[in-house]
Amino acid sequence: MAKSKPANKYAAAKRPTLSDERKFGRLGYFVGRAVTNIRQNVLINVLTVVTITFAILLVSLFLLVYVNLQGAVDTFSEKVQVTAYFDNELTPAEFAALKDRIVGLSGVDRVSYVSKDDAMRRFRDRLEGQESILEGVPSEVLPSSIEITLKRSQRSSAAVEAFVKRLKTVSGIGEVQYGEEWLRRFSTFMDFMRITGIVLGGFILLAVVFIVSNTIKLTIFARKDELEVLSLVGATRLFIKIPFMIEGVLQGATGSALALAILGGCYLVFLRNAGNFLSLNPVTAGITFLPVEYLGGLFCGGVLLGFFGSLVSLKRFVSTDS
């Protein structure tokens, strides 16, 4: 048995500098460690970044199509109008009072008055080329009316019907028309769009989370020896996890930035060349890029995907059993 214990050179030596006493403390160490890990595991990191890039690209492409379809539907929904006819012809003062009452109803966006002359002009415009039919017909035969445009959120079939019920209670209002059949079809189409969007978007999101989390799980599994060694030399769970989570954040940020850059590039190329293979001008057709808040959301989504993907995977591989 060796009982002698010679002087330990380091026991008497100056206390070592600890990393949290240095510039940026432990955070500096962890970020440095994460960057070094990326450098030492280039292939694994490239694989993760490419996976995140494709995942975010898929989601953002879906959103781009959805946002533009929604925009087209919104523009189309401007045609949802309620036309109200009066019991009797109104004087300008009576019309002003009635207009105030209608504007006061919930769901009204704007109101416009269509006089007998306006009505005749529109009728004539519709009969383009056959205006002679109306020769000798006085404008008094057509009634004056009021056209009510509803707010965007009130353009569903049920909402319009409810509005019409409220409108009919206003005294002075006679017949009300709102194209029930057309509106019902339009509402069905809008519901279909919404449900398809949610289902498809949900599937894409699930697939993306599944693929990315499994890729990260595999990459962490490939480094399980590193986790084991760290655990053996006395690293706390947090010490082991933090550099991996920083790596996850960096991978997520890089992947989503790349995806958005690719999406932006594709969008510009499409704008320039759409005229060659489509019979529409994308600019006049109202095709737009994703709004800034969507881009920010997608970027943050990528970062969170990297962060939580690492966190969840590490939970499985980091333990004190070695």
Partner: protein, 223 residues
Amino acid sequence: MIQLHNVFLTYHKEQTALDGVNLRIPKGDFVFLTGPSGAGKSTLLKLFYAALRPTRGQVVIDGKNVNRLPEGQIPYLRRMVGVVFQDFKLLPNRTVQENVAITLEVLGWGQKDIGKRVYHTLKQMGLEHKMNSTPLRLSGGEQQRVALARALVNEPRILLADEPTGNLDDANKEQILNLLKEANIRGTTVVVATHDRRLIDTSHRRVIVLDKGQIVEDSHGQE
């Protein structure tokens, strides 16, 4: 330093790995654990660095009862226990210096102090000229010395070695044994699990023989 009182350990409720082990290894001791495969040598070592907890009985390491040690305290216990394995467990994408530095990074040392200490330890192991090599460019003996350097760089109170010479030729075996002895002389308690009868016979140290999870012999050698 290490005390076991009536320790039982059962895997999957059936397979008994340790069967009523009582053991006391004082501070500064150098002990060989030996016995046939499956005798419980590695299981015993795992208890010493809290990778396993006993099914029954008490395990006390440097005054800390492993049974009652909270999960969050295990890393702190491991910081005073160095471990070496037959398969070295070195990280192939890090240099020798980085592999050894891990132990000190975990302790929170600054890079300058780490550099000095790692160099000193690698010099003790005769590997200072290989600092920037990656483990795969080293021989088996050199890799084991790197693993030993990683385990000893923070001067742990206990060093556990599980078949440390299993993959080595005679010259390298002797070199590793000498390094273990040097660590012991510097005050570290050393426990070596091995099959290697020649290594045990030439060392003249305390030998604990295990069989079927029980200590069947405990002989104090004389150097």
